[in-house]
């Protein structure tokens, strides 16, 4: 971790809590309530103008179960920072940062699709990869590898199609 990145982060955020990360990237732990304020400070004061990804880790059956990661890039200073926010398994809500970084929209949709994390204030939290109407969140560790009724939507579609063609004159 370069000293300057760390210094910049400390200047922008008082009492920033750094945690160890294996790849050496500066990683901050933030509470869910502080997430938006922290992101705003990082964007406006520390030069991290680009949100490169939002994703999550499921640690089932440990608690807190889910950890959401936001990774930011400073184009000006050429460095990155990662924020990690822990969420308990029963209450997987997080404020959306779509207002701050419009590009977060799709990443939050993907994160919702795969992990079932509800981003409050997103406004358009539809599934991204799985088809609409799918009931599960496949990247959760308790989701079975072969899925739960993977053909359910197809069978429903097939049934409706057959009924429609039977009714047709």
């Amino acid at each position: 971790m370069s000293a300057t990145t760390r210094q910049r982060l400390e200047r922008a955020l008082e009492g920033a809590r750094f945690v160890e990360s294996r790849d050496g990237m500066p990683t901050l732990e933030v509470e869910r309530e502080q997430l938006i304020a922290t992101l705003r400070k990082l964007r406006d004061e520390a030069g991290f103008t680009s949100l490169t990804f939002v994703t999550a880790i499921d640690r089932y059956p440990k608690e807190p179960r889910l950890t959401v990661h936001h990774q930011l890039l400073s184009i000006e200073h050429c460095d990155r920072v990662r924020l990690q926010t822990e969420l308990p398994g029963e209450d997987e809500r997080l404020p959306s940062c779509r207002e701050l970084f419009p590009g977060a929209s799709f990443m939050e949709r993907e994160c919702f699709d795969m992990f079932g994390i509800q981003f409050d204030g997103h406004g358009d939290l539809r599934r991204l990869l799985m088809p609409p109407g799918y009931l599960h969140h496949p990247l959760r560790k308790d989701f079975p590898h072969h899925g739960i009724e993977p053909d359910r939507l197809y069978r429903e579609w097939d049934r409706d199609r057959r009924q429609a063609s039977e009714c047709a004159p």
């Binding site: 496949p138 899925g147 053909d151 197809y154």
Partner: protein, 206 residues
Amino acid sequence: MGSLKPADEAMDAGFLATRVDALINWGRKNSLWPMPLGLSCCGIELMAMIGPKFDISRFGAEAARFSPRQADLLIVAGTLTWKMAHAARTIYDQMPEPKWVIAMGVCSSSGGMYDSYAVVQGVDSILPVDVYVPGCPPRPDAVIDAILKLQKRIERESPLKDILSGPDEVDERGSGQLTYQPNRAVERTAGDLHPHDPRASREDGA
């Protein structure tokens, strides 16, 4: 040996004696128009097959149509996901009879290495398949071989019977009655689970 004279004379006059079935089959098998459903990597190999090096026009099947309404051979080349399944089925339904299906590659034959929630475990769960081509991806010559096998099969069909039997007799092929049975033949044990899956942890801590 009887005299071949009458037939020879007839041929000189522009006639050819044959069975209607044989004539129809001859026409069908030598002008298969494939509809390439290139869903992933196998699609690239399919393009190679159509291209000049392998050149399926030698077998009369080079007229790839990207509209199912103009095609009679559906080549499912690639990984079919459940999200895509209804689209594939719609394409099949839109093809006019007679129609045939080749499942190209292990993905479309059996799900292949994608033994997962997202992938249809073999397109025969939703479509009737005539020829399966193994390989990941199959070489273009393997697919050409599949087309030749299909041609042999078409030779043995009796189209006249189907035509004369009228519309009441429904061909059960492609009625979509087959549905996915999640690996009913396979016993699953804890060893098949992902090592991080909590259900996979053993009591003895080993």
